[in-house]
């Protein structure tokens, strides 16, 4: 058993963060330069943290497998970032954003963390605007907002359809300024392959230089993982191709608890797969649901093009079932309903694997130009990918794996249960409960990196003043290097018959079928028997060519797939044990008479934090109970 002390400060919700900042230890400005901090990742979370820590005076080493920090997966976020600014005067407030986030997460997140997130959301927008992020503006020059992902208020800030890009460039530029001053040392094209601990505390990382193949150790007073999400465990997802779980998973194997891996967000508006060689799925921003109507033909044998199907023969299933929210129901509800109608045989497209997202009313009422201004980029992208013109025929969409709410367990300070090891951004499990609201991941990544970690890390570091980082010739590091070298040699020596991608695809299919939009006991048990089998076969039969002493993308990939194999099993185990439906996790056995998700607060109101017990031994479940003092729990209803 590990200790899961959430360290949530006492006191009224609204004062907790303030009190906490006052009560935690500070590192004196002149002493900050005596500390070395390792940051893994340069996405929104990592870049903002590294830049902010360096501004404070810490020495920062930042690692990314990308060629440039600016390429992190955060760059792809389209829709926007939430903040409780209430610039629209439409009734938003810190408390409302807090409430919406906890409710949206189906009451499986920590109140105190979410409240803090809502509080600092306001500062994020100030910070980004000051950096020159070109947010959308009103004619008077003030910031524009939109309503996003079904929110009842307009609190989403955006930069065209490229919000993630612009926020990341802001953070990257702040980081670049610190790199220029020498306070940050950048290690690009560097793959972090292990996390190193000594006497139970994090002390560094083992890194493979992807250009030379050289494996080396780096030590610091603390290690911050900002390595992003693990959606690619499903093979097909909206994540960038190289997004992976390795850094977080290796931390897990070194003792960090992994929380709630069954909570995977499946995004309703993605372009359906076109064939079996599909390498990834592309998101069409959810903002399209503001202006589009979702439907399928009522007739299962429908062959007419969309435009030729009369109104009466169209099934607007979301509008029918959820009159209050209609097409703007939360992501999990929209996704599950799309799956239902496609499984029933209503699907559209050559493979009958999609539903229509139809903007023809908006096109007719507001004109092509308005639509082009709003969604031009998305429409162009859709046309490039599918070869169909969305101005003339409705788009086809289908759900795809998008975001992992689970991740490394962290306390209120964003520290894992391994002292000195922090996890921020999508890599942790902290704020989204069982389901994330649209435009809240960017907010959380930047909250963690700009405004939370830079304070909380001082509490850990202050008492360590005067200590030196563990020298890299210590056995913990040399052994770590040897293990990574051995692993590499192993892959090159297998000389099997199939690529890592082949096995990854097989793994993804199992997870998607049994641990996807709906789960049941029998299916999850099946997954739990099939995953170890495929993992064994993969380890014996994978084929990796080339050498270890230079760029070798197949070698990079095989390590990642190997870690996904282990994560997949844990995700299925987590899903099996959680016999309730909540948020993105829908257990067939736990539904209302109307077929909606049925939570079981009495038995499952906790964070499931899994503890590594060794290879081939099932992880042990640890529970962090969730208590709600400020919000009354209710079943979500969008009818």
């Amino acid at each position: 058993m590990i200790s899961l002390d959430s360290k949530v400060p006492a006191g009224p919700l609204a004062d907790k963060w303030d009190n906490h900042r006052f009560s935690i230890k500070l590192v004196n400005p002149a002493n900050k330069r005596k500390y070395d901090i390792i940051v893994v990742g340069t996405g929104l979370a990592g870049a903002s943290a590294a830049a902010s820590l360096a501004e404070l005076g810490y020495n920062v080493k930042v690692f990314t497998f990308h060629d440039s920090p600016r390429r992190a997966h955060s760059i792809a976020a389209q829709g926007g970032i939430n903040a409780a600014k209430n610039y629209r005067n439409d009734g938003d407030s810190i408390h409302r954003l807090f409430y919406d986030t906890v409710k949206g997460g189906d009451y499986r997140s920590r109140e105190a963390n979410v409240y803090r997130l809502s509080q600092v959301s306001v500062e994020i927008i100030d910070q980004c605007a000051a950096q020159g992020v070109p947010f959308a503006r009103e004619y008077g020059g003030l910031l524009a907002n939109r309503s996003f992902g079904g929110a009842q208020v307009s609190r989403t800030f955006y930069a065209r359809g490229q919000t993630g890009q612009q926020l990341l460039l802001g953070a990257y530029q702040a980081l670049a300024a610190q790199i220029a001053t020498g306070k940050v040392t950048l290690y690009n094209r560097s793959d972090v392959l292990d996390i190193v601990t000594k006497d139970g505390e994090a002390c560094g990382v083992v890194v493979r230089d992807m250009l030379t193949g050289q494996v080396s150790a780096h030590s610091g007073h603390a290690v911050v993982l900002a390595s992003g999400g693990y959606g690619n465990v499903y093979y097909l997802s909206t994540n960038a191709m190289n997004s992976n779980v390795t850094a977080a998973w290796r931390a897990h194997r070194r003792g960090a608890a992994f929380a709630n891996p069954c909570y995977t967000q499946i995004h309703p508006t993605c372009i359906p797969a076109s064939d079996e060689f599909q390498s990834k799925l592309t998101l069409m921003s959810e903002s399209l649901r503001n202006d589009g109507r979702i439907w399928v033909p009522r007739d299962l044998d429908e062959t007419r093009p969309a435009g030729g199907i009369p109104e009466a023969e169209r099934y607007y299933y979301l509008e029918d079932k959820y009159p209050a929210f209609g097409n703007l129901v939360p992501r999990d509800v929209a996704s599950r309903n799309a799956k239902t109608v496609v499984d029933e045989g209503h699907g559209v497209g050559a493979l009958k694997n999609g539903v229509y997202l139809d903007l023809s009313d908006t096109l007719a009422n507001e004109g092509v130009e308005t639509v082009r201004e709003r969604y031009g980029n998305l429409f162009d992208m859709y046309e490039r990918i599918t070869g169909e013109d969305p101005y003339r025929v409705p788009m086809r969409i289908y759900p795809a794996v998008h975001y992992g709410m689970g991740g490394l367990w962290v306390d209120y300070n964003l520290m894992t249960n391994v002292p000195g090891l922090y996890a921020i951004g999508e890599a942790n499990f902290s704020d989204h409960g069982a389901n994330r609201l649209g435009a809240s991941a960017l907010m959380q990544g930047l909250a963690d990196g700009y405004f939370v970690l830079p304070y909380t890390i001082g509490d850990y570091l202050a008492p360590r003043l005067g200590t030196k980082p563990v020298p890299t010739d210590d056995p913990v590091f040399t052994n770590g290097i040897t293990e990574v070298d051995d692993r590499t040699r192993h892959w090159l020596a297998v000389k099997g018959t199939r690529s890592a991608d082949h096995y990854h695809r097989e793994l993804g299919k199992i997870l998607w079928d049994y641990c996807g939009m709906t789960r049941d006991k029998a299916g999850l048990e099946r997954a739990l028997s099939e995953i170890p089998a495929i993992r064994d076969e993969f380890r014996k039969d994978v084929k990796v060519l080339g050498t270890a002493d230079g760029l070798n993308q197949s070698l990079e990939n095989v390590n990642r797939v190997d870690d996904f194999m282990e994560l997949a099993e844990l995700a299925a185990r987590d899903a099996l044990h959680r016999e309730e439906s909540c948020g993105a996790h829908f257990r067939v056995e736990s539904q209302t008479e109307e077929g909606e998700a049925l939570r079981d607060d009495e038995n499952f109101s906790y964070v499931a934090a899994w503890e590594w017990k060794g290879p081939d031994i099932p992880q042990e479940l640890n529970k962090e109970p969730l208590t709600f003092e400020n919000i009354k729990l209710s079943q979500r209803s969008y009818k």
């Binding site: 070109p134 947010f135 503006r137 191709m241 076109s274 390498s279 992208m381 599918t386 060519l545 760029l551």
Partner: protein
């Protein structure tokens, strides 16, 4: 399926920066028209692996045209034949059955080949480090609405900020110049009210760092043609004007400080 494409590929292979490199000729049969260009390469790589040939290393990540990682020269054109489209967004339906396709890495003096189709573009980061930012230490910002930005200014800034940093502009330029990349970042920041305090210092530092690493612009405009985000050449004119002003301003600021 008969609707699929049979292609003749010539793919550049090179073991390392100093290795000689040569084309590998492959018949790529039965390629789906719905595949993206990079999915076509995935398929080719699977087949190479089956034949015990090391797969071709190529740069990619988001496959959505936004991260700027991908980029190869396709039949002599950076990012290939489709306008305003990054390599990852190019789809095979743009090709015809029987086509011969030559695939090369970015060819530019400042972008040495690392392996196969992967090059080193880090000089672009050096330009940003020289001044491509607005100094705003975390925590010090005023309320976002304290600094109004006229809508057209925000739009112009965003037009420039859309650059994905792929380096196609450099690869397409006969002189391997990085004017479009540098100008895009300068325009993004220099038109904004927040960007004014550091405007002249930024401009001089970025332009001079650019000149250290890259060739000279002789107004061919190939950069714009290759740009997947259609970044406007007007930004280069803007940069040139700002650079001249910066030289004067920075000199007079320096003499004032004396």
């Amino acid at each position: 399926m008969s609707n699929n494409l049979n292609l003749k590929l010539r793919i550049w292979r090179q073991d390392g920066p100093d290795a000689p490199g040569a084309f590998l000729d492959i018949e790529a049969d039965d390629i789906s028209r719905d595949a993206s260009f990079l999915e076509m390469l995935d398929t080719v790589n699977e087949r190479l692996l089956g034949d015990d040939i090391e797969p071709v290393n190529f740069p990619h990540d988001c496959r959505e045209g936004i991260c700027g990682t991908c980029g190869v020269v396709i039949n002599g054109q950076a990012h290939g034949p489709e306008k305003a489209t990054a390599t990852c967004q190019l789809h095979m339906r743009k090709f015809r059955d029987g086509d011969e396709i030559t695939i090369e890495p970015w060819r530019a003096r400042s972008f040495p080949v690392i392996k196969d189709l992967v090059v080193d573009r880090s000089p672009l980061d050096r330009i940003i480090e020289a001044g491509g930012y607005i100094t705003a230490p975390t925590g010090s910002a005023p309320d976002a609405n304290d600094i109004p930005v006229p809508k057209d200014v925000a739009e112009a800034s965003m037009d420039a900020a859309a650059c994905i940093g792929c380096g196609a502009c450099v690869a397409a330029c006969p002189n391997s110049a990085a004017q479009l990349f540098t100008a895009a970042k300068l325009a993004h920041l220099n038109v904004l009210p927040q960007g004014q305090p550091e405007r002249w210092k930024r401009t001089e530092a970025m332009v001079e760092t650019m000149e250290e690493y890259f060739g000279t612009c002789t107004n061919h405009g190939e950069c714009h043609e290759a740009c997947p985000k259609e970044i406007s050449l007007d930004f280069i004119a803007f940069m040139n004007r700002d650079y001249i002003k910066a030289k004067i301003k920075n000199r007079s600021l320096a003499s004032q400080a004396r």
